[in-house]
Symmetry: C3
Subunit: 135 residues, 3 copies
């Protein structure tokens, strides 16, 4: 089964959508299987991170922004704004796809794991994620 | 269904093979399903990036080469050439595997997304990619 | 079919578990299919790397530790120890999931590829990996 999911973002950072994804798995009727995701953009990405302490995600965001700063003299691809080329680089360094085994109708995530859309641009966006559910 | 695909590379950079992959999906007869790829090398990787403006991919390549330079005094694994250890690091920072949902026989990529083999070595190579197509 | 696998780690570095995974594939009876893995932790990750010369993996580990040092003034998430925030960052830069096509009952890895659990913390850990095997 293939489906789509949308995550609304308002600037850079990690947006959790574990609950929406888990609900989609339930609706699909898949008990033991695999849930695969692709974000249909190259200026945002997907990641599985700790969902307990928000400071971990804030540090992650700040660290990545320091590694991949805006207005780097190296960039020639600058027409779409200062945050565009850094966003492509961040997306290449993180993940566009995730695959999560499903058991008993539940995503087999670890106790402290959440599924996130990682927005790398400043503006407001609707990020589309293609989802495949198979057994 | 499992199959294999080969991408010929001539030095560092991103080589698009979206069309060859899409053709393989068509031939497989899979309508709604999942297309999973593994590059069978550790000095090249796979990425989904913007296929509109080539400057984005050029900046990506130059940025990664600056982050992971050759002849770093840290390297002890140097027997296979100056580009060998940086290639392993670049492959670890990017992706060896991709999974792309398929709908109506088409890869569910975003409007501007292409599938690329990212070559991290200078020479000419034939990169083998294992492909699984399932429903 | 879903299953679980455990990798025992004793400090930072790459721990190969290709043989255990291949044995699980054999036991599953899957001949042509896909083997998908998720590490159920955010302070360790999964990677496919060269399994020939150990110096490549040692350089990889040292390079990543230099890129993501401990006690960086940027970190605010410090309660769980000096190696905690670097571990989250390293996990985000590498991979939590892998998908490996299977042919004739064998993982379709390249000649020199091995599957590794990449431990990013100093202590001893039992890392759980969820595995899905499908055709």
């Amino acid at each position: 089964m293939v489906d789509e999911l949308e995550v609304v973002t308002r600037g850079q950072g990690l947006y959790e959508f574990t609950d929406a994804l888990q609900a989609m798995v339930r609706r699909s009727g898949v008990t033991d299987g695999l849930c695969s995701l692709l974000i249909q953009h190259t200026s945002a990405s997907l990641t599985i991170q700790e969902n307990a302490d928000p400071s971990a995600r804030q540090d992650l965001e700040r660290w990545l922004c320091r590694l991949v700063p805006e207005r780097d003299a190296l960039y020639t691809h600058t027409l779409e704004g200062d945050d565009d080329m850094p966003a492509h680089i961040k997306s290449a360094l993180t993940s566009s796809c995730l695959s999560i085994p499903v058991q008993g109708g539940a995503l087999m995530l670890g106790t402290w794991q959440g599924v996130y859309c990682w927005e790398h641009r400043h503006g407001n966006h609707r990020r589309r994620i293609a989802v495949h559910l198979g057994s």
